[in-house]
């Protein structure tokens, strides 16, 4: 038995003993889960255990809400959304739309950032894993809503027009940091967490909003 495990087991024994009469409290169990995770996971490849396990406040609050089985209270949700909204980096040159064809390739790719990937793998957006997007791709997931006709449904016929501005910005913001609009969204924060570059986000926005994209035809 290594030192780490021995230490963890003594912590566990302490919690079990302390909880003999009534069972351990919620905060004791939360602490114990953290200790168990710390002792169980190790760095591998490009993935650093500390970084993943010491995640940010957004994830911590949402995980606790998930365990409790009830959503964040309204005030906390709003605070988390505002906190995340502030992280959104808007396109420096004001160009929100790139090439939808490149966006389609990014949406198809689920590659990158696992402990078996090398650091130079270009990460994909994982979009089709959870969303229907173009009608041609029938292998899509259903964890997120269908994005087929995304721009059309929202009345975007010219993404450069002033009427389209709000939707264009929302789409960029949602991809950059989904939690800015829904505190505990299942969707990754692609820009904020460095999964996609600004250039890649631009292409995915085009896939959703370009009238020539198969999404809107």
């Amino acid at each position: 038995m290594n030192k780490k495990t021995a230490w963890m087991l003594s912590a566990l024994a302490a919690v079990v003993l302390a909880g003999c009469a009534t069972g351990p409290s919620v905060s004791e169990l939360n602490d114990l889960a953290r200790q168990v995770a710390k002792a169980s996971f190790r760095d591998e490849g490009i993935v650093k255990a500390d970084k993943v396990l010491n995640t940010d406040e957004t994830n911590r609050l949402c995980s606790e809400a998930d365990v409790a089985g009830k959503p964040l209270d309204e005030a906390t949700a709003k605070r988390v959304e505002e906190m995340n909204f502030k992280t959104i980096q808007w396109p420096a040159d004001g160009k929100f739309l790139g090439d939808w064809k490149l966006g389609e390739a990014i949406a198809q790719s689920g590659r990158g950032l696992t402990f078996t990937d090398s650091a130079n793998v270009v990460s994909g957006g994982n979009c089709y894993n959870c969303h229907q997007i173009s009608k041609e791709e029938i292998s899509f997931g259903t964890i997120g809503p269908s994005l087929y006709n995304y721009g059309k449904i929202r009345g975007v016929s010219n993404p450069d027009s002033p009427e389209s501005k709000a939707i264009v910005e929302y789409t960029w913001g949602k991809i950059w940091n989904s939690k800015a609009y829904n505190a505990c969204s299942n969707m990754p924060r692609a820009g904020h967490m460095g999964i996609l570059t600004a250039e890649q986000v631009r292409h995915v926005v085009a896939l959703l909003l370009d009238p020539k994209s198969p999404v809107n035809r």
Partner: protein
């Protein structure tokens, strides 16, 4: 196949006009593919190997595993799988099947449990652990999960496992629940069981160890969890680590009453 006599134009029309129907067909196709494979599940080969290993005198102590206590007394195999993970008083730990096998291989046969835990999946003694787990699981086929929750550590492990299940993190903010927290969801065309409750007979926890057709490998629950964490962009969970065992308790207790179909066959 007789069903394929549908005129080509009709098939093309179905694909073009009804994507929902096309998906259903693809999904049904996969089910049929699995059903065909059930006639000859290659896990039988691993079962046979595992049974042989259980009875064979091996290791520095040249002993078999026939006195190994999997929770129902020394040497009792039938029914053991559907009650694991559980607390073992000799080690003072909650253990799953695979970590318990390491204990027996160390105490009875003289292997180093730590060495085996460090060995990569499918290599050396690890492949033997998988074969043993496959046979032991098969001995409880069609029996219903009934993990004990009477020991305080078993209860604590359930609660810890639940917290790990919902723990978001990594670049994608994924937790186990991101994919396995709701009914009727899919990743691409792959159906995802909701593991926050009982997903039913032979689903989720009740399907592993399983033979994976896509890579021709036999996987135990430890490897299944390891690959979930890999795809979640999480760090590497140690083999037989408490996190993996606590998750096993959470999943296994949630599956109470469901029948085990392990060793199953997967895409």
């Amino acid at each position: 196949m007789k069903r394929s006599h549908l005129p080509l134009w009709a098939a093309a029309l179905m694909l073009a006009c009804a994507p929902a129907l096309a998906q259903k067909t693809a999904s049904q196709g996969i089910d049929e593919y699995r059903a065909m494979l059930q006639d000859g599940n290659p896990s039988e080969l691993f079962e046979a190997k595992g049974e042989g290993l259980w009875k064979q005198k091996r290791g520095p102590k040249n002993a078999s595993l026939e006195k190994c206590d999997l929770g129902k007394g020394p040497g009792v195999v039938k029914g053991a799988f559907v009650e694991l993970p559980r607390f073992f008083s000799d080690t003072g730990r909650v253990q799953d099947l695979e970590s318990r096998l390491l204990t027996c291989m160390e105490t009875l046969q003289g292997f180093s449990a730590a060495e085996i835990a460090k060995t990569g999946f499918g290599k050396g003694e690890q492949s033997n652990v998988t074969a043993l787990a496959t046979w032991i699981a098969a001995e409880s086929k069609d029996m219903r999960f009934n993990l004990p929750q009477s020991h305080s550590q078993e209860k604590v492990f359930y609660e810890v496992g639940k917290r790990l299940f919902f723990q978001r993190g990594g670049p994608h903010d994924f937790s186990c629940a991101s994919c396995h927290g709701e009914d009727g969801k899919r990743i691409r065309l792959q159906d995802l069981p909701n593991l926050t409750k009982n997903p039913g007979d032979g689903i989720g926890f009740a399907a592993w160890p399983a033979y994976r057709v896509s890579n021709g490998q036999m996987w135990g629950m430890q490897q299944r969890l390891n690959d979930c964490y890999r795809q979640q962009r999480f760090p590497y969970p140690g083999f037989g680590s408490d996190a993996t065992i606590a998750l096993g308790v959470y999943l296994g207790v949630n599956s109470k009453g469901s029948a085990s179909i392990a060793p199953a066959i997967k895409r």
